[in-house]
C-alpha cells in the first residue's frame, strides 16, 4: 500500500484562480520524490495540501490519501494526529520556523512529549539525543539557547530534529537549504540524506534547484503554473528533458554544478 496517494489534486486560491491543476502522484514507504518548480508553480501549495494546512481561503479538491486517511475535506481533528507522526515538515527559513521566545530544548521537547509520552529526565534525555542525532555539538547549551542566538545552519539542524522527533514515515522538506550558504547547505543535505536513509523514511523534497534535488532523490516531478509538466528519473530529466521548461532547469543545474566545481578548484589553488 502506498503511504501517500495524490489524485487529481486541484488547489484554488480565494480569488478563484487554480494554483494547482490536476496533479497526481504516489509515494510508497521509503520512496523519495522531488517536486521541482519556480516560485508560484504550486509546489509548496501541493506540499501543504498533503497535511491539510493551506492558507485560509485556499481550498483543495481531488483526493489526497495519507496513510489511509482522506485529507481533502477532513475535519481538523482527524488531521492533527497525522501531523508530525505520519508526516513532518521542514521549512525554508528556520529562523521564522522557530518560536523566538521559547528555548530550543522546550520547543523540541513539546512534540516528543506529545507523541512519545515522555516526562521529566527521560524527556530531557530524548531531547539531547535528538540534538545529537542532527550532529549538533554541545546539545546541552543548544537546548538552553533561543533561535536567534545560533547560526542558520544550527537552526536548520534543530528544525530537522523537531521534524524527526515524532518518527514520521514521510518527511516533506520545503526548500530546506535555500536560506543557507553553499557549504552549510551541503552539510545539511548530507545530514538529511543520511537520516532519511537510516530511518527508511519517505521524502518529498521541494526545491527550485535541480542540482540540489539530484543529491536527494532519483525521481522528480517538474511543476509549472500549477501543472505537472514532466516527471521521470533525475538522470532522464537532466539528459533528455522533454519539456523546454525542464530543459531550462537542467541547464541552470549544470551551470551551478560547474560554478561550484570551479569555486572548489579555485579554493584548492588559493
Amino acid at each position: 500500500m502506498n503511504l501517500l496517494e495524490v489524485a487529481s489534486l486541484e488547489v484554488t486560491s480565494p480569488d478563484g484562480v487554480a494554483r494547482v491543476k490536476d496533479v497526481s502522484f504516489t509515494v510508497a514507504p521509503g520512496e523519495r520524490i522531488g517536486l521541482i518548480g519556480e516560485s508560484g508553480s504550486g509546489k509548496s501549495l501541493t506540499a501543504f495540501a498533503i497535511i491539510g494546512l493551506l492558507p485560509s481561503g485556499v481550498t483543495a479538491a481531488g483526493s489526497i490519501v495519507l496513510d489511509g486517511t482522506q485529507v481533502v475535506g477532513a475535519p481538523e481533528k482527524h488531521l492533527v494526529p497525522l501531523r508530525g507522526r505520519v508526516c513532518a515538515f521542514i521549512f525554508q527559513e528556520p529562523l521564522t520556523a522557530l518560536d523566538p521566545l521559547m528555548k530550543l530544548g522546550r520547543q523540541l521537547a513539546e512534540p516528543i512529549a506529545r507523541h512519545q509520552g515522555l516526562r521529566g529526565a527521560e524527556l530531557r534525555r530524548a531531547v539531547l539525543e535528538a540534538l545529537e542525532e542532527v550532529r549538533l555539538s554541545d546539545p546541552e547549551r543548544m537546548a538552553e539557547s533561543r533561535s536567534y542566538e545560533i547560526s542558520g545552519g544550527q537552526r536548520q539542524r534543530v528544525a530537522i530534529a523537531m521534524a524527526l522527533a515524532c518518527r514520521p514515515q514521510l518527511l516533506i522538506a520545503d526548500e530546506p537549504t535555500t536560506a543557507l550558504d553553499v557549504t552549510v547547505q551541503s552539510e545539511v543535505l548530507t545530514l538529511l540524506d543520511r537520516l532519511v536513509a537510516d530511518r527508511g523514511m519517505a521524502l518529498i523534497f521541494v526545491s527550485h534547484d535541480l542540482a540540489v534535488v539530484s543529491r536527494m532523490t532519483d525521481h522528480a516531478i517538474v511543476m509549472r503554473a500549477g501543472e505537472a509538466v514532466e516527471r521521470g528519473s533525475i538522470a532522464q530529466l537532466l539528459a533528455a528533458p522533454k519539456h523546454p521548461y525542464t530543459a531550462a532547469f537542467a541547464e541552470s543545474a549544470r551551470r551551478i554544478e560547474a560554478d561550484f566545481a570551479a569555486a572548489i578548484d579555485q579554493g584548492r589553488d588559493g
Partner: protein
C-alpha cells in the same frame, strides 16, 4: 573550516550586541525603570502602611474644620474635620485595588475574546471586531457610569464596570497582536508537528503576545485609576467609608481657595501613581522582551 566558524561567531556577536544598543540608551532605560519603581513603590508602601497603621480613624472627625497642616495633622483636615493624610492613605489602597481589579477583569474578558476573534477569522472575526469598535466608541467613563448606574455603586461594581469598559481595548489589541503571531511561520511549523489549537495558544501565541499585552495592561491600570477617581468625583465611585482620591478632590472643590492643600494633595498622589505605572511598564517592557532588547 576555521573561516566559517569565525564568521558564525561574528554573526552571533552581532546578534547579541547590536551596535545601536549603546550605553546611554541602556542607562536611560534603567533610569525609567528605577523612577517608575520608586513612584509606584511609594504608593504601594503608603497603602501597605495604611493596613497596619493610620494617624487617625478614617471616620474620626475630632479635628477642627479645614485646619492648616500641623504636627497633629500633617496635611491638615478636610471640611468635616477628618485628617487628610488618613484619607489619602486609605485612598491609596482603594486606587490600587480598583486599578488592579479593573485590569484583571479587563484582561480576563479582553484576552480570550481577542484570541477567539483572531483564531476564528472570517465573518466571526469581522462581527467581533465591529462589536469591539462600538464598545470603544463609547467614552470609557460613560460606559462605566452606565454600568454603575444600573448595578448601583459599590467597590466591586465600580471595579467590574471599569474592567468591562477597558476590556474592549484589551480585546482589540489582543486580536491584532495575535493575528500577527498566528501569521508567523513557527505557528505553521507547530501545526505541521501536530500541535492542536489550544497548544498553539498556550505554547506560542500567549508567550509571544504577552510583552505587548502586559505593557498595555500597565497603561490601562493608570487609566483605570483615573477612571475610578473620575467616577468618585462624579459621586458614582465606591461609597463611604471607602475613601477615594477622586472624592477627596470633589469634596475639596468648594474650599479650594481657602484650603488648597485639600485638592492638591490627592491630585499629587494620583499623578505620582499614574506616571509611576507608566514609567514602570515602559521600563519592564525593555527588560522582559528579549526580541525588543535585540531590536533596539
Amino acid at each position: 573550516m576555521s573561516t566559517i566558524d569565525d564568521r558564525e561567531a561574528l554573526a552571533q556577536v552581532d546578534l547579541l550586541e547590536p551596535p545601536s544598543l549603546n550605553a546611554r540608551a541602556r542607562r536611560r532605560r534603567s533610569l525609567v525603570l528605577v523612577a517608575g519603581l520608586l513612584l509606584v513603590g511609594t504608593i504601594v508602601l503608603v497603602a501597605l502602611v495604611s493596613l497596619a497603621w493610620l494617624p487617625y480613624e478614617p471616620s474620626d472627625t475630632s479635628g477642627s474644620r479645614l485646619e492648616a497642616p500641623s504636627l497633629a495633622h500633617l496635611l491638615g483636615t478636610d471640611r468635616l474635620g477628618r485628617d487628610l493624610l488618613t484619607q489619602i492613605m486609605v485612598g491609596a489602597r482603594i486606587a490600587l485595588v480598583v486599578g488592579l481589579g479593573a485590569v484583571a477583569v479587563g484582561a480576563a474578558i479582553g484576552v480570550p475574546v481577542g484570541l477567539a476573534a483572531a483564531f476564528a477569522g472570517g465573518w466571526v472575526d469581522d462581527a467581533m471586531s465591529a462589536a469591539m469598535d462600538i464598545l470603544i466608541a463609547f467614552p470609557l467613563l460613560l460606559l462605566a457610569m452606565l454600568i454603575v448606574a444600573v448595578t448601583g455603586a459599590s467597590l466591586l461594581t465600580v471595579t467590574v464596570a471599569i474592567g468591562i469598559s477597558v476590556s474592549a481595548v484589551v480585546a482589540r489589541l489582543t486580536r491584532v497582536v495575535a493575528k500577527r503571531v498566528l501569521a508567523q511561520q513557527y505557528i505553521t511549523a507547530a501545526r505541521t508537528s501536530g500541535t492542536g489549537s489550544l497548544g498553539i495558544v498556550w505554547q506560542h501565541v500567549l508567550p509571544n503576545i504577552w510583552p505587548t499585552i502586559s505593557v498595555n495592561l500597565g497603561l490601562l491600570f493608570g487609566i483605570a485609576v483615573l477612571a475610578e477617581a473620575s467616577l468618585s468625583y462624579l459621586g458614582l465611585g465606591a461609597p463611604p467609608p471607602n475613601s477615594s482620591w477622586g472624592r477627596l478632590l470633589q469634596e475639596a472643590q468648594s474650599t479650594v481657595m481657602t484650603a488648597p492643600l485639600g485638592a492638591i494633595a490627592p491630585g499629587v498622589f494620583l499623578v505620582i501613581l499614574v506616571i509611576g505605572v507608566n514609567l514602570l511598564v515602559d521600563g519592564l517592557r525593555d527588560v522582559s522582551d528579549p526580541t525588543l532588547a535585540r531590536a533596539r
